[in-house]
């Protein structure tokens, strides 16, 4: 097994940041470990000198309403997100996505913070909260700051975080208002615990039979997780019907260069599935957006 020399299990953010700052060698934050541990053990990740385990960092285990946003601590296990009434009420796309990551054992330890920090272009959790317009909270010696989720990614597996001083501490998701809804679907090979062939999340606001506003994220659609704004623009303000959907799909296929992954799918297959998923997800979200908003606090 790969060796790391030091392992720490801090219980506050201050302690965790201090440990990261002080370590002389390479350092890495570890949460559920269901990705990072394997990458270290199997040599896909350069050896690290110090692991700072954030599973017990108090501030990162909180899931609660904070004013106009739902806050989800980065160390909250995925299973807790999947079963949370608050998440189901305000962030249906995340509720669905987190319930599809790994198997039950992985969801009991894996975290949303880890899913996002790994910076994979098709991570189910990341794609779902991208459509939800999530902000990420980052802790450093300078304190806490909030920034748009899409500013976090540099390339496949590369986040913009400074491994020696920054930790994703949580996520802020805007509360759901009347006539708004979100959803997530994915297509994958039958073996349950792998990256999806393609996934898609959408959020929309409905005004009668019109799509008032919409956000769509698709993975993998490029080197980093991203929204497909061309498709959003083609659908915004349009009635919900076949012609609009078909224009949305055309815009998506024009703007996204789907690629072939050796183990998972060809680019052509992904293009076909993008059309299937777009219809499935938007129909689902459209129907949800017509329903009532209950008040779970």
């Amino acid at each position: 097994m790969t060796i790391w020399n030091h392992y720490y299990l801090p219980s506050t953010l201050d302690e965790a940041i201090e440990l990261l700052n002080q370590t002389p060698g390479s350092a890495r934050v570890i949460a559920g470990g269901t990705d990072l541990l394997l990458d270290l053990q199997q040599g896909r990740h350069a050896p690290v000198d110090t692991l700072v385990d954030v599973n017990q960092v108090r501030e990162m285990l909180v899931l609660e309403m904070r004013g106009t946003h739902l806050f989800i601590g980065a160390s909250v296990p995925l299973n807790q997100i999947t079963t949370s009434e608050l998440v189901l009420e305000h962030a249906q796309a995340l509720s669905e996505a987190s319930g599809l990551i790994g198997g039950p054992q992985v969801r009991n330890t894996g975290t949303l913070g880890g899913n996002v920090a790994h910076a994979l272009p098709a991570a189910d959790g990341t794609i779902s909260i991208m459509a939800l317009n999530a902000e990420v909270e980052i802790a450093s010696a300078q304190g806490l700051r909030r920034q748009a989720l899409n500013t976090l990614f540099l390339g496949p597996g590369k986040s913009a975080l400074d491994p020696h001083g920054e930790i994703i501490s949580g996520f802020y998701l805007p509360v759901r208002k009347a006539n708004q809804a979100s959803g997530f679907s994915r297509i994958m090979r039958p073996q349950g615990v792998a990256l999806p062939v393609i996934n898609m999340a959408a959020w929309l606001e409905r005004d009668g039979d019109r799509i008032q506003d919409i956000r769509i994220a698709v993975g993998p659609s490029g080197p980093i997780p991203q929204r497909i704004t061309a498709a959003e623009d083609a659908l915004r303000g349009r009635p919900y019907n076949e012609e609009s959907l078909s224009d949305g799909l055309k815009a998506m296929l024009n703007s996204v260069k789907f690629r072939t992954s050796p183990q998972r799918a060809t680019a052509e297959y992904r293009q076909k599935l993008a059309g299937v998923l777009l219809r499935e997800v938007i129909q689902k979200v459209w129907q949800r957006a017509g329903g009532p908003v209950s008040h779970v606090v």
Partner: protein
């Protein structure tokens, strides 16, 4: 590498151990405590053969670092049978003929226990979901699912 001290309760017995931080809960169970029921299968969190309950939740022991188990309560397959009597889930696996080579079974049984502890009346879909992280390569899943249904029935009548 700097050793760490951890204290964990396994099958109602508390152990304090000095160990290296790059070891996993599975290493500790199998090599230090002699509990070889949890199997080392894929060592990558895919097969579920190492499933144990940590604070009541099913986890892959191969992906839990020793330090993460500090202060936790762990239940393994060895903790299920009491005074020589098989646990109803174990008995149901035998009665249903759900066991062939047996390698996946400790993990299957523990994942089933995690389900039935929280949901005593699972639908077939609930059982399939709960066992989605456990792979069997010989018996097939039909009899395993039957076994969990039989165990649920038995536990409700207990």
């Amino acid at each position: 590498m700097k050793p760490i001290e951890i204290t964990l309760t396994v099958n109602e017995t508390t152990h304090t151990l000095i160990t290296l931080p790059n070891r996993t809960l599975l290493d500790i169970l199998r090599e230090d405590l002699g509990l070889t029921g949890a199997k080392n299968g894929c060592e990558s969190g895919e097969c579920g053969a190492c499933t144990v309950l940590m604070n009541g939740a099913a986890v892959n022991a191969c992906l839990v670092l020793a330090g993460q188990a500090d202060g936790c309560t762990v239940e393994t397959i060895e903790g299920l049978s009491k005074s020589g009597q098989l646990h109803p889930i174990q008995q149901a696996f035998v009665d249903a003929g759900a066991v062939q080579c047996g390698f996946c079974i400790p993990g299957m049984v523990m994942a089933s226990k995690a389900l039935l502890d929280h949901n005593p009346q699972p639908q077939e879909e609930d059982i399939r979901q709960a066992l989605a992280g456990n792979i069997c390569r010989c018996t097939g899943y039909t009899k395993i699912i039957q076994a969990v249904q039989m165990a649920a029935e038995e536990l409700r009548h207990d």
